[in-house]
Homo-oligomer: 494 residues x 2
């Protein structure tokens, strides 16, 4: 990670030089790739997330939610999850590619835009054979364009990262990278051929793509166990290793997550925006011109919207707090993050379901339960990222939040809050038949205050423990007191 940082610094340094007018190097078109990558992240995250729309807009007939949800679950949700994950696999490939290529010129920028335009075509929801063909076609075209990018970059070595630029066997790297890049398009080619014969089998092939690196690693490991250890080549590969702890750019993981959270929050408002502002004529007819009555009628919609928005916002907040304390994002953490984001992407579905049914019906309770399941998994995978980071805390975490650090307990409490609340609500709906969607949304809205209360409770709890177990060390207590004095607002609110 440090090396990466240095490489990027060197990159921007030479950018400044070249912009400063030094003609020494003679390639004026070279640019830092930062903004291009931010734009790519934004686009890819939006594309991955809008694929929830065909699921969320499925018309659910009244009094048969259970069957139709089972139907949904068996097909559309699975397809959504699969395509979301494949898009993120392609995105991870994009990250790795631009960890090798650290500078760009106009040509690379245009090539990258072409490959992004293919990404956006992947948003065609592949629920039938044409969809699958289109989807696979896009992945194949992306693979070809990425190969062209690699060939172009290796023909102009000053675009590459310094490690490769300095390396002697650049050709070896080139072949290795091309080989890795072409794996996914080949699988898709296979899947598209299979789709003509056995329609469902191609989904299985596509699903394999997601876990391809893990499978190939397993096979390698078994091979080693059986055949005995093979000697590594002397100049072992530093990039594209597919080890679970291979570092991925933390910035880009954050940018991608931000995109997903932002577009989910916006998908919620889209429905209100188009349908739910009553017209003047309607107000006159139905409510006798009374605006208050009209708004009251639309009240539950707005409550549902606010509840869902608060949930998205706070899940983002937890994610933000978590990654603030993470120093390095590994491949495995990024996979867990992707799972969490896939469930966050399901929140528009939860929103649609919870405000669609008449109050106090069995359907309403089931819709709330589905929401709880979605929120629970979104939260539990965030917690999993944290647990994985703790396993390797020397490398991946700031000392502040490591085991025994000052913020450790509070971080854990923050991460555990949403899974606990979701689980609790789920069991409440089983016990209380009076539980309704408005109560659920009100609960969602009150959770932010729980965060503030939590902070205070953890502080007080820690202070008490310290007071009981080591009452003779006033320095610790004074630190805690000091903290308390700087959070008067917390004290005011709670």
């Amino acid at each position: 990670m440090e090396k990466k940082g240095r490489a990027r610094q060197a990159g921007s340094g030479s950018l400044m030089e070249s912009l400063g007018g030094s003609d020494r190097e003679g390639h004026s078109g070279t640019q830092s790739s930062h903004r291009l990558l931010a734009y790519s992240d934004a686009l890819i995250s939006i594309i991955a997330t809008v694929m929830i729309l065909p699921v969320a807009h499925t018309k659910v007939e009244d009094n048969e939610l259970r069957e139709s949800v089972q139907l949904l679950l068996s097909t559309k949700i699975c397809v959504y999850l699969m395509t979301f994950l494949i898009v993120t696999v392609a995105w991870a490939a994009h990250i790795r590619l631009f960890q090798v290529i650290v500078r760009i010129d106009d040509c690379l920028a245009l090539l990258n835009l072409v490959s992004i335009s293919q990404f956006s075509l992947m948003a065609t929801f592949p629920e039938n054979i044409l969809g699958i063909l289109l989807f696979c076609g896009c992945v194949m075209v992306i693979g070809v364009i990425q190969s062209v990018i690699v060939l172009y970059a290796f023909s102009q070595p000053f675009l590459l990262s310094e490690q490769i630029q300095m390396s002697e066997n650049r050709t070896f790297y080139k072949h290795h990278i091309l080989k890795v890049i072409m794996r996914v398009p080949l699988m898709c080619f296979l899947a598209s051929i299979v789709s003509f014969v056995v329609f469902q089998l191609s989904y299985v092939l596509l699903a394999i793509i997601i876990f391809l690196p893990y499978i190939s690693r397993c096979v390698e490991w078994c091979h080693k166990k059986v055949m005995g250890p093979v000697e590594e080549s002397p100049d072992s590969v530093l990039f594209y290793t597919y080890l679970p702890n291979e570092p991925l750019s933390k910035e880009r993981v954050e940018a991608f997550s931000d995109g997903v959270y932002a577009i989910v929050a916006t998908l919620l408002i889209l429905d209100i925006c188009e349908d739910n502002v009553p017209d003047v004529a309607v107000v006159q007819q139905r409510f006798g011109g009374s605006l208050v009555a009209a708004l009251q009628d639309y009240g539950p919609e707005y409550l549902a919207y606010f509840g869902s928005f608060v949930t998205v916002g706070l899940l983002w907040f937890v994610h933000h707090s978590l990654f603030l304390h993470v120093t390095k994002a590994t491949r495995f953490m990024s996979l867990l993050n992707t799972f969490s984001l896939a469930f966050v992407g399901g929140l528009p579905l939860a929103y649609q379901l919870t405000h669609e049914f008449p109050r106090n019906s069995q359907n309403e309770l089931e819709a709330i339960q589905i929401s709880c399941v979605i929120i629970f998994f979104a939260g539990i995978f965030q917690l999993a990222i944290w647990v994985v980071a703790l396993y390797n805390e020397q490398e991946t975490l700031h000392p502040y939040v490591r085991y025994g650090g000052r913020e450790h307990v509070f971080m854990l409490a923050k991460l555990a809050l949403y899974p606990c609340v979701a689980l609790g609500t789920f069991f409440l709906t089983c016990i209380l038949s009076k539980f309704s969607a408005p109560i659920f949304h009100l609960m969602e809205i009150t959770v932010p205050f729980a965060f503030l209360v939590l902070r205070l409770l953890v502080r007080v709890g820690l202070a008490l423990i310290r007071l009981i177990f080591c009452p003779d060390r006033p320095d610790l207590r004074s630190v805690v007191d000091d903290d308390e004095s700087t959070v008067p607002f917390n004290a005011l609110v709670t």
Copy 2:
């Protein structure tokens, strides 16, 4: 700008310290605000842009495009432009606020999320009285929350930028900032009261908000001319000056623009994604199972999509090239950028119109003309940013692209390309009655190659000029030759 940069550096420096475990300062919750701001930018830009949807999804009846477009133009497009601009005004206020507050803690992060949730409610399209009330209500709530943020930040001075932290009359700053922030909500309050009496007048009041700083500056200037110069207070205000050359964070202007371009590109795909992948049953019935025939039928849609996507991508590319060479974004440049983005946001409308009508009809030509107008204005405002930057080139531009710099001519050519192409196409549609939407979209797709040709043409042209006017200076020619040798790919493509 330099001061700003230093302040931020200092901020992140102290963040590192505090994360490094130094308890010296005693406020552990302090965080760098970078990611919070990036997330806010993404959300606000998406919200501003989705307001085009009610316009784009207006059903246009066949053979009456001209009248219905006039109807559209008179109401919906104006309302769209106005709300887009007001959202960006609120966003600019958000930038200024967080140029003063450079560090955040959990409380500020949550408060900011609440204010963003209000932003998203602004996406309710205010085409009737309830919409206006809701819109104004949101702006007022945002104003109140921003005031709370200011009060909270000033109560904890270590969150503020160093300039204010060191300043002696912090209270003066606080009052000044609060006064400026409360201006917009007050105007909205007025507008919402007026909307009960004269419905249309409230639009005028809202429109005034956009130009409020310019109007107040005019009034001040007139006042000075009439009354004679007033002595400035000794400690003149450095923030919230509303001078046209007040710097705005360049990073955030870029992030906001990226968000708009990304969501526009995605709005294009949404329609294809939901409607245009033919079902297996449909393919069997209508095309006798032939996939190729089915895809041919949907061909024009995909062509229209690709054409529009390429246009969005290249407008982003031009924007990216421009801001790569800009060192400081001023208030006036940001206003021009906003105008350009407002027209970019209109591209989904152009896309809807151009693939909706039967081929070779008068309507089709008019739809193409509307597209040309939108693209023309999006491009011309980008050019205007560049012209404004040139007026003050010592401060705002890298020496590379200043008048006489090496990249100057090429930059100008890049910026002038889209306005010229749009203007040319507009006149072509007037002359040629055979001009059709597919030709238009094919033209859009070929423009990227024009960029590459352009680069070569400018180079060759400059080399020729130098050869003719100063043939005795071989050093210049060698530099140009050197450049040529590093762009073999360009040469290959063209």
